[in-house]
Amino acid sequence: MNQGYNILGNKSKIKQIRLRPIVETSKDIRGQILFSSQPIAFLQGVDPERGIITQNKHDLFQSPVAGKILVFPNAVGSSVGAYVIYRLRMNRVAPKAMVNQRADIITASGCAIGGIPLFDMPADSIDVLRNVVMGRIEAKESLLTFGLDLANDDRGE
């Protein structure tokens, strides 16, 4: 059930993956996917005033995270990173949701106190989301729908 599968027939490139909810939401989420295969050190690696990744040599260096579905393996570094995630939310520059490979304590507690939906996908590789532009997470089932066709799809939030 955890494999991406085709729901609209062979001609469509839309796929679905069931995520594991860590911090859940009651609303569906639709947004641009910001993908990185590198872990994020929130303390010192993210500027919570501007909502920008400032970690040197990170493949998302200088990228704004506000309103995105931020996909990355997990957090690393200081546990104070949880407060940075909270502050991103208070400053209204937080991602709309986060998706981890396997969520860790820093990301989970940060998203929980900040009220940012967090999911992970221990059974699938987040690598399937590399190069994906848009995604939609259906709240009730934690179902992530993604694909090129979604760019012109206006369902969801």
Binding site: V80, Y83, S109, I113
Partner: protein, 391 residues
């Protein structure tokens, strides 16, 4: 994870924002560890108090949540040391900028309802509940001590998770809360040429070695089951400084992986930690001094004067007790300075001294002197420190 109907309501926000946030934290962490449910706790101990550790972001969070309507700790809650002596910080090299922020953090915690002492050895200052009681303690050294010496049940919690438990009176039923997970998975066989390990340096070195080489509940083979409190404290602190083990046992379990702790291992850890032959100041109290240690110190000073600057870290509660027993006066008379309710490692006092090295009996202390302040440490047992530094 199963939630009771009232826990469900709390998560959905029916009981207000503070409880929603706290239950969200527990639910998230419960899902990470695939726990089945939450359980009630009797005592929460929260880390993340020194401004030097949590900074402006932690302060911002604490201030915001303490101002929310109805935010109050539900169970008995203690907190870790802060970064300064609250009553006399200005004479100890702490800037007013730092002090202001530190007092704001303390104010936020006090508003939420904490016991009156800032300590990393809460079991010294407050009555310990019966064996088997579930608690929720952050501060790795205290959590390991709780599991291994006091026979309480706790995981190694974080600042945020312990705060969530203080607000809800509950914790995630996982790992070391569950009886079958408290059996040792790996053993360290002590096979050094000296007959018995003794003193905080020996036990600190052993704990550091164990922390580096194990991840899970660890059994020590070949050490005494009954030890002075300072040896257990040193062992727990060093074990928590490196690695992730939350508990140790002492015994002779057969059939588990066994790692030898030899003279060679002892020397290699000692040399890694003790990177100076001597130090410009003496630091006692990482973790904070117990009443027994203050008694020993006052006795061993024997009316003589210390040749170097000496800082003694303990909780204000233990300080008050030691004062009534005359230990404080004896120690101050020798020239030492008490720093109450502060952490010896995460305090701006050390940097303000402008020194390159300290003398300490603590492996944990030596580790953080280097990593936090860039200060080297000479690792020496208390008795030896005194024999070399008294006039």
């Amino acid at each position: 994870m199963y939630l009771t109907p009232s826990e469900e309501k709390a998560v959905s926000g029916e009981y207000g924002a503070p409880l929603q946030m706290a239950y969200r934290v527990l639910l998230a962490l419960g899902r990470l560890s695939e726990a089945k449910r939450l359980i009630p706790i009797k005592w929460a101990h929260i880390s993340g108090v020194s401004y030097l550790t949590i900074g402006d972001y932690g302060l911002d969070f604490l201030q915001r949540i303490s101002k929310l309507k109805g935010t109050k700790f539900k169970v008995f809650t203690t907190v870790n040391p802060c970064g300064m002596d609250i009553e006399r910080w200005d004479s100890l090299g702490v800037s007013s900028e730092y002090a202001e922020k530190q007092l704001q953090i303390i104010g936020a915690y006090q508003k939420l309802g904490i016991a009156s002492s800032f300590t990393c050895v809460p079991f010294q200052s407050f009555k310990v509940p019966p064996k088997g009681t579930h608690v929720c303690w952050a501060e790795s050294s205290a959590a390991i001590y709780a599991n291994s010496v006091l026979d309480l049940r706790t995981n190694r919690e974080s600042a945020v998770s312990a705060l969530a438990s203080a607000l809800t009176g509950k914790t995630v039923y996982s790992d070391l809360h569950i009886e079958e997970n408290r059996k040792p998975k790996v053993a360290i066989r002590v096979s050094v040429s000296k007959k018995q390990l003794s003193g905080s340096v020996d036990f600190g070195v052993l704990g550091y070695f164990a922390g580096k080489n194990t991840k899970d509940v660890v059994e020590f083979q070949g050490i005494r089951t009954r030890r002075p409190i300072e040896e257990s404290k040193a062992l727990c602190a060093a074990l928590g400084t490196v690695g992730s083990a939350g508990m140790f046992t002492v015994g002779r379990t057969k059939g588990i992986e066994t790692i030898d702790f030899s003279d060679k291992d002892y020397i290699s850890i000692f040399e890694e930690i003790s990177n100076s032959d001597t130090g410009e100041a003496i630091v006692f109290g990482c973790p904070q001094m117990t009443i027994e240690e203050l008694y020993q110190l006052s006795k061993n000073l024997d009316g003589r004067k210390l040749e170097k600057r000496c800082f003694v870290f303990c909780s204000s509660k233990i300080y008050d007790l030691a004062k009534t027993r005359g230990y404080v006066d004896a120690i101050v008379k020798a020239g030492a300075t008490f720093v109450r309710d502060a952490c010896a490692d995460f305090t701006p006092i050390i940097s303000s001294l402008n020194i390159d090295s300290v003398i300490t009996d603590s492996v944990k202390g030596a580790h953080y002197m280097k990593s936090v302040h860039g200060v080297k440490a000479a690792l020496v047992n208390t008795k030896e420190i005194l024999s070399k530094n008294l006039k």
